[in-house]
C-alpha cells in the first residue's frame, strides 16, 4: 500500500474539479472539443489509476496509467491542432477589414 500525498491531492482535485470543468466546457463550442475532452478524461483516469495502483494490481494499473497519459497526450495534441487551425483562421478573418 504505497501512495504519495501528491497523488491523493491529485485524486481529490480530479474528483472535485472535473464536474466544474464539465460545466465550463458545456458553454464552449470549438473544433477539437471532443478530442480535448477525451484527452483530459484519459489524463484524469491516469491520475486516479496512479492512486489505485498503490492498493491493487500494481503492475497492470501502472501499465494502464502510462497508457492513459499516452492517450491523453495524443488526443490533446489532435485537439490542440484542430483548435489552433480554427483559431488562426478566425484570427485572420477578424483582422480583415
Amino acid at each position: 500500500m504505497t501512495y504519495s500525498e501528491s497523488e491523493i491531492i491529485n485524486l481529490f482535485l480530479v474528483l472535485v474539479l472535473s464536474p466544474m470543468l464539465a460545466v465550463g466546457l458545456r458553454e464552449l463550442r470549438f473544433p477539437g472539443k471532443v478530442w480535448s475532452e477525451i484527452g483530459f478524461s484519459a489524463i484524469a483516469l491516469g491520475l486516479v489509476v496512479t492512486v489505485l495502483e498503490g492498493f491493487v494490481f500494481p503492475d497492470a494499473l501502472n501499465l494502464v496509467e502510462h497508457a492513459c497519459y499516452a492517450a491523453g497526450g495524443i488526443c490533446g495534441a489532435v485537439g490542440a491542432y484542430l483548435l489552433a487551425k480554427d483559431a488562426r483562421r478566425a484570427y485572420r478573418g477578424a483582422e480583415r477589414p
Binding site: 504519495s4 464552449l28 490533446g76
Partner: protein
C-alpha cells in the same frame, strides 16, 4: 522495449505536439484570450516535462524534475480548469461585444430610417409630453400652432385611430394624416403612443377640388335633368295631342268614308233602285276611290301609330309554317283574279317567338305587293324555312323587279318604283314602309334581292327568341 516505455514515448510526443499547437493558437483570436492560452500551455508543459524525464530515464539520465514531477502534476487540473473558464469568459465577452455591435447597428439603421423618413414620427405620452421626434416630426411640432396638434388627445383616443389634422398658418396650412399606435407602458410610467404623421396636403387639396367638381357636376346634372323633364313633358303633351289627333282623324275620316263605300255598294247592288250604265260607272269610281282612300287612311293611321309607339307588341310562340299557309290561302282569290299562281312551301316545322298579327300584316303586305307588281300569268311563291336561330319567310315573284339604285328608296313613305314611264300601280306607297317599321319593332330583318324584269324576293328573318324584354305568352 517495454510497453510502458512505448507509452511514455507516445505521451512525450503527444504532449510535445499539444504544446506546439498550443503556442500556435493566436491569443487574440475570437473567444481565446491570452490567459486561456498560457494556462493551457502550462498544463501541457507539466506533463511534457514529466514525460521527458521518464524518457530520459530510459537513457540512464535522471533529472531533477522526476523528483518534483508528481507534485507538479497537482497543478494540471486547476490549470486546465482555469484555461477553460478563461475561454468561457472570453466567449461571453465576445458574445456581448457582438450583441452590442448588432444592437448599435440596428439602432443606427433605425435612426437613419427615422431621420430620412418623409413621415413624422413622434413618441408622446397621455400628457402630451414628447419623448422622441424625428426630423420631420420636430419640424411639425415647431410649425403647429397652439391647439392644432393635440398630442394628449390623440394618445388618449382610439389606439389605431386615423385622423387628419391641419397644421400651420392659414397661408401655409398643411394637412397631416395621423396614425396612432399605443405602446405598452413601463410600470409606473404614463401611457405612451407612437404617432406617425404623413403630409397629405396635396391629396386633401385634390379631394377638395374633386368634391367641388362633383358638386358642380351634380348641379349641372340637376339642371339638365330638369330641362330633360320639361322637354319630356312637352314631348308627352305633343304625343298626347298627336294620339288625340289620330283618334279624331280616324273617326272623322273613316266614318264618312265607310258611309260613302257602304252606300255606294248598296246603290251598285241596285237596292236603292235601278241605275243607268253611266250612273253605275260613275258610282263604281266613287266606290273604288272611297276604298282606296280608306286604305290610304288606314295605312297612314297605322304608320303613325307605329312611329308614335302606340302599336303594342304581343309576343307568342308561332308556328310560322301553318300561319303562312293560312295567310296564302286567304289571298288566293286576289291572285286568281289577276291570273297569278300563288303558292306556299314549308320546309319542316318552323317556330318563332313573335307577334302573329304583325307577322301576318308584314307578309300580307309583301304578298299583296308581289301580286300587284306581277303581270298576269306570273308566279308568287311564299317559302318558309328554318335556320339555326330564325325562321325565314321569303316572298318571291316574277314581277317587274326593282333596280339596285331604287332598292332603298322603296321603303320610304309614298314611294313606288315603276320601270320606264309606266303608270303608277294602285296603292298608297306605304306598305313597305309599314313592313320595315313592323320588322324593326319585332326584331326581324327585312331584305330584298331583285333584278329588273326578273322579279323580286323579299326575305323576313324572324328570330326564334324575341330579342326584347317582353314576356312570351
Amino acid at each position: 522495449m517495454s510497453p510502458i516505455a512505448v507509452f511514455d514515448i507516445l505521451a512525450f510526443l503527444g504532449f510535445g505536439a499539444a504544446l506546439f499547437f498550443g503556442f500556435r493558437v493566436p491569443a487574440h483570436a475570437p473567444g481565446i484570450g491570452r490567459l486561456a492560452k498560457y494556462t493551457y500551455i502550462g498544463a501541457v508543459a507539466i506533463f511534457l516535462l514529466n514525460g521527458a524525464s521518464n524518457v530520459l530515464e530510459y537513457t540512464g539520465v535522471t533529472t531533477q524534475f522526476d523528483a518534483y514531477g508528481d507534485y507538479a502534476k497537482v497543478l494540471f487540473v486547476p490549470l486546465v480548469l482555469w484555461s477553460t473558464f478563461s475561454r468561457v469568459n472570453a466567449e461571453r465577452l465576445l458574445a456581448a461585444q457582438r450583441a452590442e455591435a448588432a444592437e448599435r447597428e440596428e439602432s443606427e439603421l433605425l435612426t437613419s430610417i427615422l431621420e430620412t423618413s418623409p413621415a413624422g414620427v413622434i413618441v408622446a405620452d397621455v400628457n402630451g409630453s414628447v419623448s422622441f421626434a424625428n426630423q420631420f416630426g420636430s419640424q411639425i411640432l415647431a410649425e403647429a400652432l397652439p391647439g392644432q396638434l393635440d398630442l394628449a388627445g390623440i394618445v388618449r383616443g382610439t389606439p389605431t385611430a386615423h385622423r387628419r389634422v391641419p397644421v400651420g398658418m392659414q397661408d401655409s396650412l398643411r394637412y397631416l394624416a395621423v396614425r396612432c399606435k399605443s405602446l405598452h407602458p413601463a410600470e409606473g410610467s404614463a401611457s405612451r403612443a407612437v404617432l406617425v404623421l404623413s403630409d397629405v396636403t396635396d391629396r386633401v387639396i385634390r379631394e377638395h377640388e374633386i368634391e367641388e367638381y362633383r358638386h358642380g357636376l351634380e348641379r349641372e346634372i340637376d339642371h339638365r335633368t330638369s330641362e330633360l323633364m320639361e322637354a319630356n313633358r312637352q314631348l308627352q303633351d305633343a304625343s298626347d295631342a298627336r294620339q288625340d289627333f289620330l283618334a279624331r282623324m280616324s273617326h272623322e275620316l273613316k266614318t264618312p268614308l265607310n258611309s260613302i263605300i257602304g252606300f255606294s255598294e248598296i246603290m251598285l247592288k241596285g237596292l236603292s233602285g235601278p241605275l243607268t250604265e253611266d250612273q253605275r260607272a260613275q258610282l263604281g269610281m266613287v266606290h273604288s276611290s272611297g276604298t282606296h282612300l280608306l286604305e290610304l287612311v288606314n295605312d297612314v293611321l297605322e304608320i303613325s301609330r307605329i312611329e308614335a309607339g302606340y302599336s303594342p307588341v304581343s309576343i307568342a310562340r308561332v308556328n310560322v309554317c301553318a300561319r303562312m299557309g293560312d295567310l296564302v290561302a286567304s289571298m288566293a282569290v286576289l291572285a286568281r283574279e289577276k291570273d297569278i299562281d300563288l303558292a306556299c312551301r314549308c320546309e319542316g316545322a318552323t317556330n318563332a317567338a313573335t307577334d302573329p298579327d304583325k307577322l301576318d300584316q308584314i307578309v300580307r303586305n309583301l304578298v299583296s305587293n308581289a301580286i300587284k307588281f306581277t303581270d298576269p300569268g306570273g308566279r308568287v311563291d311564299v317559302t318558309v324555312e328554318q335556320e339555326q336561330d330564325s325562321a325565314v319567310v321569303t316572298v318571291a315573284d316574277t314581277g317587274i323587279g326593282i333596280a339596285e339604285e331604287d332598292q332603298e328608296r322603296i321603303y320610304s313613305a309614298f314611294q313606288q318604283v315603276e320601270p320606264g314611264n309606266r303608270a303608277r300601280r294602285e296603292g298608297t306607297g306605304l306598305g313597305l314602309t309599314i313592313c320595315r317599321e313592323l320588322c324593326d319593332s319585332l326584331g326581324c330583318t327585312l331584305s330584298l334581292e331583285s333584278r329588273p324584269g326578273e322579279g323580286s324576293a323579299f326575305t323576313v328573318r324572324i328570330p326564334r327568341q324575341f330579342p326584347g324584354d317582353l314576356v312570351i305568352l
